[in-house]
Amino acid sequence: MREKEVIYGLYNDEVDLLNAVKAANADHLDIMDVYSPFPVHGLDPLLGLSESRLHIAGFIFGAIGTLTAILGMSWIHAHDWPNVFGGKPTLAIPSFIPITFELTVLFASIGMVVTFYTVCGLGPGVNNKTLDDRISDDKFCIAFDTHDGDSSHIDKYKSFFSKTGADEVNSKII
């Protein structure tokens, strides 16, 4: 990823953050990203973030689990090595239900979690540069991409930060 120079402001409270994002929208400023120590409700629609589609991935993986279980057990017990267990028919669907359910949940969970880390670009050994160590503590951050230090942009952002009450303003190359 290209290195970019980022100018960011830190806020002390999520209400200030929400107000600032609204102000940025009103001024048509292009926010690069917003960082917070916990999920801030009301932020996603303001940033224009579309809803997560992870549940669709979950459903698809779950369906794969269901099919794997049902088809696997049916093939094993009715075709590959049919046995009579307790007088049951070889295709004992009610007996197959518990394992089918378990594999559905297992595949859905593993699939969704792996998808989550993949689309977020997170994982063991991933080292993303964070703008400030206090963001995971108690600061809320709005970051703008300065597009390589264009001074008119920088002034615009700085005045935006002072207008919205940012506690600190810094810039960093990430």
């Binding site: 917003v34 518990p98 949940v105 593993i110 969704m112 880390y117 995971s136 503590d137 940012a166």
Partner: protein
């Protein structure tokens, strides 16, 4: 803002905390050297673990004959302990998953530790199916994979195999759910750490930045995992109950077992969570995060599930009488009046009588009473499984086959070993990870902190609603 919380509700975070205070309080136990209490507890736990390892190796070397299982009691302390540990594990998932779906904010004080407890309890439980089969070196036979023995497949109609899938799935999903929640908290620890500790927590936090989109997906993932974990936890103990219910043994072959076992699991799980949390909050000074309100809520769950278990016991007795089936009737005479009558009365006293104390609000909010009760419930639930398994098997259909069982020293040693595994893992967890969910507690501060809710609230959410002017920030509270 999240859903409006009535200002007359009891606060869930006391001590007038700010976000930074929360970080400080919850991360600092991982940054300090362990105190004497931790060292002593860890020493004891490691001793128990060593006893367990020795006894397990003895069992594998000498065979199941070193246990006292025999006709007709083929399942004794091994399966009693297995079901006990699995039951304990259920509270973690209930607290994280079901209470998330029910929007109970108080879950945030205890969910991280409870989920960790679930994972460690399932590890202890999973030991028993492995070692009780005798030939642990061919235990991979359980798994359905194409092999050169036919291919020989396991029997998918057997509840014992359903158990294997259920417990493996339960362990995996609990681990994933727990770890997903831990990633942002590890990032908090990482950002305060330096040197080698920083490298470790960087690795563990997966590069988490706190970006809005990531939080959005994190919340969506937590919600769907909670939705999956809820039927999962209900199904796991149902499937464990099927190990008994699908048999023909009187006292086992009853349809009440699935709900009875699930309620009993939640009951014993919450008791273990309370035992752990009461000690943890004292030692790590977390009384502001695991408040009396949390303890009272957990005691209410114990009261409800204990009563359900009590109703289940009475139903069993009623149906045994009503059915007119002599073998079922005898099974219950035997439990109450046979050679193991003391375990039945222990079970009844600990599980049915003692939780009734929690009808009193004063008792629900009393820490000492809660602690003693949590121990009683754990003991009572152990007796319940012993009553179901060993006493029933000791006296089934054919009187000429009747026998008695008492555990060998090796079996007792293995049980002690599982307590050792559990506490070693739990104590290690309290050192390396934040015991309370940091991000989730911060998330509820504005609605449930004692500055905002409860008798001493002086700050109300509506004061913080966005105003028209952006002239100045609010500053500290």
């Amino acid at each position: 803002m999240s859903a409006i919380v009535s200002p007359i509700r009891e606060p869930l975070i006391t001590g007038n905390k700010s976000y930074h205070d929360i970080t400080e309080d919850l991360v600092s136990p991982t940054e300090k050297a362990p105190g004497l209490a931790w060292m002593l507890a860890m020493g004891l736990a490691v001793t128990c673990l060593s006893i367990g390892i020795f006894c397990i190796l003895w069992t594998i070397w000498k065979g199941i004959g070193s246990w006292n299982l025999n006709r007709t009691i083929g399942w004794g302390w091994d399966i009693t302990n297995f079901v006990w540990w699995i039951g304990i594990g259920h509270a973690g998932t209930l607290i994280s998953a079901i209470l998330l779906l029910l929007r109970q904010k108080w879950r945030t004080g205890v969910n991280r530790a409870a989920e960790a407890m679930t994972i460690f309890a399932v590890i202890c439980a999973a030991l028993f199916p492995g070692i009780h089969v005798g030939r642990i070196w061919v235990v991979f036979f359980f798994f359905p994979y194409p092999n050169t023995r036919g291919p020989l497949w396991p029997n998918f109609n057997s509840p014992l195999l359903w158990d294997l899938f259920a417990i493996s799935t339960y362990f995996t999903v609990s681990l994933l759910f727990w770890y997903t929640g831990l990633v942002p908290d590890f990032a908090t620890v990482r950002d305060r750490a330096s040197g080698f500790r920083k490298k470790i927590y960087s690795f563990l936090s997966f590069g988490w930045t706190g970006s809005a989109k990531h939080w959005q997906r994190w919340e969506a993932l937590s919600l769907v995992l909670a939705g999956l974990a809820t039927p999962l936890v209900l199904s796991v103990h149902t499937i464990v109950s099927f190990d008994f219910a699908t048999s023909v043994i009187p006292g086992w072959h009853t349809t009440i077992f699935p709900p009875y076992f699930v309620a009993g699991a939640v009951f014993s799980g919450f008791a273990m969570v309370l035992t752990l949390m009461l000690i943890t909050r004292k030692i790590l000074h977390l009384e502001d995060y695991i408040t009396i309100a949390h303890i009272e809520s957990m005691n209410k769950v114990i009261l409800v599930t204990g009563s359900i278990v009590g109703v289940a016991y009475i139903s069993e007795l009623l149906i045994a009488w009503y059915s007119g089936y002599v073998y079922e009737q005898f099974a219950f005479f035997n439990r109450a009046l046979g050679p193991y009558w003391w375990s039945y009365f222990g079970m009844m006293t600990c599980n049915v009588l003692s939780p009734q104390i929690f009808w009193s609000k004063k008792m629900r909010r009393n820490i000492f009473v809660t602690f003693v009760m949590s121990i009683f419930v754990n003991i009572g639930m152990w007796f319940e499984r012993f009553v179901i398994i060993a006493t029933t098997l000791a006296r089934d259909y054919l009187p000429s086959s009747w026998s008695l069982y008492k555990p060998s020293i090796v079996e007792v040693g293995i049980f002690i070993g599982t307590l050792g595994i559990f506490f070693v893992l739990y104590l290690a967890f309290t050192r390396v990870a934040p015991v309370v969910a940091i991000a989730e507690v911060k998330h509820i501060l504005k609605s449930s902190g004692d500055q905002y809710a409860g008798k001493n609230a002086h700050h109300h959410e509506y004061e913080d609603l966005p105003k028209e002017k952006h002239a100045h920030s609010h500053g500290g509270h």
